[in-house]
Amino acid sequence: MASMMQPQIILLKEGTDTSQGKAQLLSNINAVTAVGDVVRTTLGPRGMDKLIHDDKGSVTISNDGATIMKLLDIVHPAAKILVDIAKSQDSEVGDGTTTVVLLAAEFLKEAKPFVEDGVHSQNLIRSYRTASTLAIEKVKELAVSIEGKSVEEKKGLLAKCAATTLSSKLIGGEKEFFATMVVDAVMAIGDDDRLNLIGIKKVPGGNMRDSFLVDGVAFKKTFSYAGFEQQPKKFDNPKILLLNIELELKSEKENAEIRLSDPSQYQSIVDAEWNIIYDKLDKCVESGAKVVLSRLAIGDLATQYFADRDIFCAGRVAEEDLNRVAAAAGGTIQTSVNNIIPEVLGTCEIFEEKQVGGERFNIFCGCPSGRTATIVLRGGADQFIEEAERSLHDAIMIVRRAVKNSTVVPGGGAIDMEISKYLRQHSRTIAGKSQLFINSYAKALEVIPRQLCDNAGFDATDVLNKLRQKHAMQSGEGASYGVDINTGGIADSFANFVWEPAVVKINAINAATEAACLILSVDETVKNPKSESAQGDAAAGAMGRGRGGGGRGRGMRRR
């Protein structure tokens, strides 16, 4: 408002939103803190879920930080950075998305009083960077390797990591059940990097415990034509032919036209077309395949033809599923039925069509290469299964990271407390302002155990003090103590198997520090008015900075 009263040199287009200086920095920090507050309550085993309607009216119920941040539809430029770090954490390690947002918000919150007091933000940034390097080194030092254990032992350890991730989710009640399932699935695909080899299929109905793992591929029965029910539905060791062609009576060339001058030739054209399709079908049969899958349609003619010859077929199989069948059964997807050599046919021990809830599923198990796994999820409501899928995704990512990077750290806030202690000790060795900044960085790290307590309704101050005491012990035996969510006291997280892969923590600290530094280094925002919304913002601009009105105006036009 004040700017309107002064004579202005017009430098930028009218309606451009600019704000600068310390005020801008502080308001950015405020915005970030506000966003951090939204996801704050989802942290930990006693964290709550959010129900978010988006503008199309669809609804998501989730506990996953990245999902929530994405759905909040944040437009504030500074706050958007938080969305990005949540996303990057999600794609990098898959879990700890809430943690990273929370840490970034807390770092900034701790920096705020310094900024208000006139500290140059570059000073803060430098100290924060140092602190994060030290913290990461400390994590690496504290991490315990699970390398070199036997497969069985390793599986058990990995299941512990998965269970820690799952404990904060909706399916936390059955975390052991799902943790084992996830570990089995990840172990099944081995070293392969492709995440899509683990399929998750959702079938509403049933309870969580009815979920099961298929050591192969499973997918929902595709649309079928008359005659399908007459095909056999179970094979032992069938040959599987995978196709990417249509098996349907259709015009071979789209734009071709046939001109006949002699009506008696009519029949020959008809026959020719039929011969083409019969030829294709014959070749499929000749190949010896008992199961024919195609990504494109398999028409009614082909369905009946296969039914006559005791062959199972399914058309319009999703590409993803087909690829997984190819990977599991060892076949190759063919784009022609000519020249089918036995090598391109896949096989599996048992193929079966089975009833799962209200759906029928095609299940291939006991595949020779065994590099795929499918988790069939069951649950009482669509929202429930959606959220369960997101949770399992997190758990799968965690296990995969842990397999590759096999070091773990104690969870439940224990590692955060230990780093905090270490940084605090370190800061005392520094002369100058940096001491204060690193100290506040250390304090910010305590937000994890504090929030865990807050969410569970415990006395955070009390628990934190107990933890500090344990961690301050000279012998170092208290280093793995964290919040005990069941009793409201403290416990040795390591002994209680609350484990996280070290990489989650490292990435979280890194990303959160980066984001905090980025926001601290911004002292001016220039926001261009949307080109087509010149009128709306000009009017709103006269009112001040084009705040609510501008926001709404944009939204409506976009629709």
């Binding site: 005020a23 879920d49 944040i74 008359a226 009506p263």
Partner: protein, 535 residues
């Protein structure tokens, strides 16, 4: 909804269309969600049990549905609230998985939410309530496993199956002929069941309905019923020992799929074309005749010319038969679906002992019965009734009964109905609750109380004194340590559900408890609702 303000008190724009969004958080959000869930449960509460009432629902196009089936009611209500939608899905899940008990599961979830509200007021953390519920549900399910009874049945002795189906049907509008309907359902399931694999494909049971007649006229046909008649009125109405050609190609001259044009520039060419067409018809009919078909069933239509020809050659035919029916006919008669006349061979014909066309009452409507099939693995239940709504509701009831019979074939354990199972679970959970230290104990006890709400609703709907009846039954159960006592809804004079023959499937009951607990946990776990204000 404003999340933050700057130092001048101006709100930030953090979210898109921020001021159009509303946010409900903390205990308010939980209370609002619980209220929504309870509201849905309240609607269904009066539909529970043999004396439960029906709901009449009018759709947006003015079509009316009258139903007692929880899943159907909720589906038709078209609820908008998210939490209410969860309840709808809950009911649907039960329907998909079990097919019965769709009302009970919602009533149960409603009761759990109601109890949770009380615990929230006490200041217990919602997740601890949910965890307590989970523990309790496990106790209840294990307890059910213990008290469940197995019964033996085989193809000839299916009385227990009928009894269980009758329990399901007794709460429906069709309960006056529940005995006969239950028998029909059980026979139908047994006819298509694969008893060795314990698998039943319900797709093989076709449920057909036609307005008119009485409910008592409902019958089970070991074969297929098609709502079609012969293509020509003069064709024979009854064919014995029929050999059926099942065709998916029309009685028409074949057309190439590629775009084509026939240039006709002389009269002779036109003549040849016409002749060829006629020849086609002739050949087609001849082919059918040659392989020995005595009936043609066709997915498509045919020309008047073909129709006439068929009539002339004394080959009865049915046209426009849907794909699904065609498939069922093929399965039942052991025939193969033939996509082309050239492929017709005698082996591909389906065989049926009797095909007859039957007309109903004074109407002109006729249906085609295909009976005494080579393979009776496909059956039809043909429902008659006074009006369309009645038939629709009967269809749904029969579906429930079929599902129950199927579940029993999969797992032949039963528990006793009439609220008996809930009461004994309630007692078991209550007793188990005391063993748990910590806040969960309260939640477990609340779960036990919530379990009581099902028998309570049963008693209420039956016009009994709910509290008196429940406490009497409960004490009786404890005193005699027998889990068979339930609510005597029909005023038979005994509380012993064994004598009343009121059974429910074990898996159905377990599923109810687990599903309800799951959904309640999901609702309790939400503490923040962000929505556009129009919702």
């Amino acid at each position: 909804m404003a999340l933050a303000f700057d130092e001048f008190g101006r709100p930030f724009i953090i979210l898109r269309e921020q001021d159009q969004k509303t946010r409900l958080r903390g205990i308010d959000a939980q209370k609002a969600n619980i209220a929504a869930g309870k509201a849905v449960a309240r609607i269904l509460r009066s539909s529970l049990g043999p004396k439960g009432m029906d709901k009449m629902l009018q759709g947006p196009d003015g079509d009316v549905t009258i139903s007692n089936d929880g899943a159907t009611i909720l589906e038709q209500m078209d609820v908008d609230n998210q939490i209410a939608k969860l309840m709808v899905e809950l009911s649907r899940s039960q329907d998909y998985e079990i097919g019965d008990g769709t009302t009970g599961v919602v009533v149960m979830a409603g009761a759990l939410l109601e109890q949770a509200e009380r615990q929230l007021d006490r200041g217990i953390h919602p997740i601890r309530i949910a965890e307590g519920y989970e523990t309790a549900s496990r106790v209840a399910v294990e307890h059910l496993e213990r008290i469940a009874q197995k019964f033996e049945f085989d193809v000839n002795n299916y009385e227990p199956l009928v009894q269980t189906c009758m329990t399901t049907l007794s709460s429906k509008i069709v309960n006056r002929c529940k005995r006969s309907l239950a028998e029909i359902a059980v026979k139908a399931v047994l006819a298509v069941a694969d008893l060795e694999r314990r698998d039943v494909n319900l797709d093989l049971i076709k449920v057909e309905g036609k307005v008119g007649g009485k409910l008592e006229d409902t019958e089970l046909i070991y074969g297929i019923l098609v709502d079609k008649d012969m293509s020509h009125p003069q064709m024979p109405k009854q064919i014995e020992d029929a050999h059926i050609a099942i065709l998916t190609c029309p009685f028409e001259p074949p057309k190439p799929k590629t775009k084509h044009k026939v240039d006709i520039d002389t009269v002779e060419k036109f003549e040849t074309l016409r002749k060829q067409e006629q020849q086609y018809f002739d050949e087609m009919v001849q082919k059918c005749k040659d392989v020995g078909a005595t009936l043609v069933i066709c997915q498509w239509g045919f020309d008047d010319e073909a129709n006439h020809l068929l009539m002339h050659r004394n080959l009865p035919a049915v046209r426009w038969v849907g794909g699904v029916e065609l498939e069922l006919i093929a399965i039942a008669t052991g025939g193969r679906i033939v996509p082309r006349f050239q492929e017709l061979t005698p082996e591909k014909l389906g065989k049926a002992g009797m095909v007859r066309e039957k007309s109903f009452g004074t109407t002109k409507e006729r249906m085609l019965y295909i009976e005494h099939c080579a393979n009776s693995k496909a059956v039809t239940i043909f429902i008659r009734g006074g009006n369309k709504m009645m038939i629709e509701e009967t269809k749904r009831s029969i579906h429930d009964a079929l599902c129950v019979a199927r579940n029993l074939i999969r797992n032949n354990s039963i528990v006793y109905g009439g609220g008996a199972a809930e009461i004994t679970c309630s007692l078991a959970v209550d007793a188990a609750g005391d063993k748990y230290p910590g806040v969960e104990q309260y939640a477990i006890r609340a779960f036990a109380e919530a379990l009581d709400s099902v028998p309570m609703a049963l008693a209420e709907n039956s016009g009994l004194q709910p509290i008196e009846t429940l406490s009497a039954v409960k004490s009786q159960q404890i005193k005699e340590n027998i889990p068979f006592y339930g609510i005597d809804c029909n005023d038979v004079g005994t509380n012993d559900m064994r004598e009343q023959n009121v059974f429910e499937t074990l898996i159905g009951k377990q599923q109810q408890i687990l599903l309800a607990t799951q959904v309640v946990k999901m609702i309790l776990k939400i503490d923040d609702v962000i929505s556009n204000s129009e919702y």
